[in-house]
């Protein structure tokens, strides 16, 4: 992304829109277990905010998420997911048995918190992946022809 689409109108609209997008993304993630939403949807909204900023400003990095960190994030997200699953095994449960996590709250709430942790992992992963896809698609055509037939 080298050229910005930005004009004053876009810049202002974007400045107004992005905080609400991020807030809405967080809302969608947190309420994923009892209303439509969850990590996938929230992650996509978050990624949309990042991509909107990039398009308008023409910068490589928006909200602290550049091409490299997006790839790292897309790896870390699933790692959080798997990490919580494996953590449950440390406390004697089966894989992904959040009930086994030793948190000082009611068992049902422990499960809810475990699910939330998983959702956060998914959100990170989805945000990273969507932004990476955007990066790959918007990159100049370099290094692709070198490996012909």
């Amino acid at each position: 992304m080298k050229t910005a689409f930005g004009s004053r109108v876009l810049e202002t609209a974007c400045r107004l829109l992005v905080p609400f997008m991020v807030l809405f993304a967080v809302y969608v993630v947190i309420h994923g277990h009892d209303s439509p939403g969850g990590g996938f949807q929230g992650g996509v909204i978050l990624a949309a905010a990042v991509i909107l900023l990039r398009l308008v400003r023409g910068e490589e990095t928006a909200l602290g998420l550049g091409p490299r960190s997006a790839l790292v994030l897309s790896c870390l997200g699933p790692a959080v997911y798997a990490g919580i699953g494996l953590l449950a095994m440390v406390w004697g449960g089966n894989f992904l048995d959040y009930g086994a996590l030793p948190l000082p709250i009611k068992p049902a709430e422990v499960r809810a918190m475990g699910t939330l942790g998983i959702e956060v992992g998914i959100t990170m992963g989805v945000t990273g992946v969507i932004v990476s896809i955007f990066d790959v698609l918007s990159r100049d055509e370099e290094g692709d022809q070198s490996r012909g037939t």
Binding site: D34, I133, V136, L137, E141, D144, Q145
Partner: protein, 130 residues
């Protein structure tokens, strides 16, 4: 093997959603096999997957029932009052799978287009022979 033509009418209506999803599936399948353009094949693939998804969703439809979330002042806690969430959960997964497949396919198509300059199947076959 059912007999008697009188059954056809109500059966047809009662099974309308099966007809719908099967038709979608077949349209998609035909488009994938006979489409002259690779992007059309890809779109047909999505139609086919939607056919499968509607099949599952229609299967779990239940009139007068709601999403299975136990809340205060909600419907009574009996199975009749709630929809079976499993097909929905499965189809969410299937949608994710279908989106990923589409993504991979589009990436492949971009590379094909960059190399051969066409996605028209007949032209592509000609250029492959060169």
């Amino acid at each position: 093997m059912r007999k008697g033509t009188s059954r056809v009418g109500p059966d047809l209506v009662g099974h309308l959603h099966y007809w719908f999803s099967t038709t979608l599936f077949l349209i998609g399948l035909y488009g994938m096999l006979a489409g002259p353009h690779l992007v059309r094949k890809l779109m047909a693939m999505n139609v086919m997957q939607v056919g499968v998804i509607t099949f599952f969703i229609a299967m779990s439809a239940k009139s007068g029932a709601t999403a299975p979330i136990a809340i205060e002042h909600g419907p009574p806690l009996v199975a009749e009052a709630y929809i079976n969430p499993l097909p929905h959960a499965m189809m969410l997964t299937a949608i994710v799978v279908s989106v990923s497949t589409t993504g991979v396919a589009l990436a492949l198509l971009i590379r094909i287009h960059r190399r051969y300059g066409t996605l028209e199947e007949s032209e592509l076959l000609d250029r492959l022979k060169e």
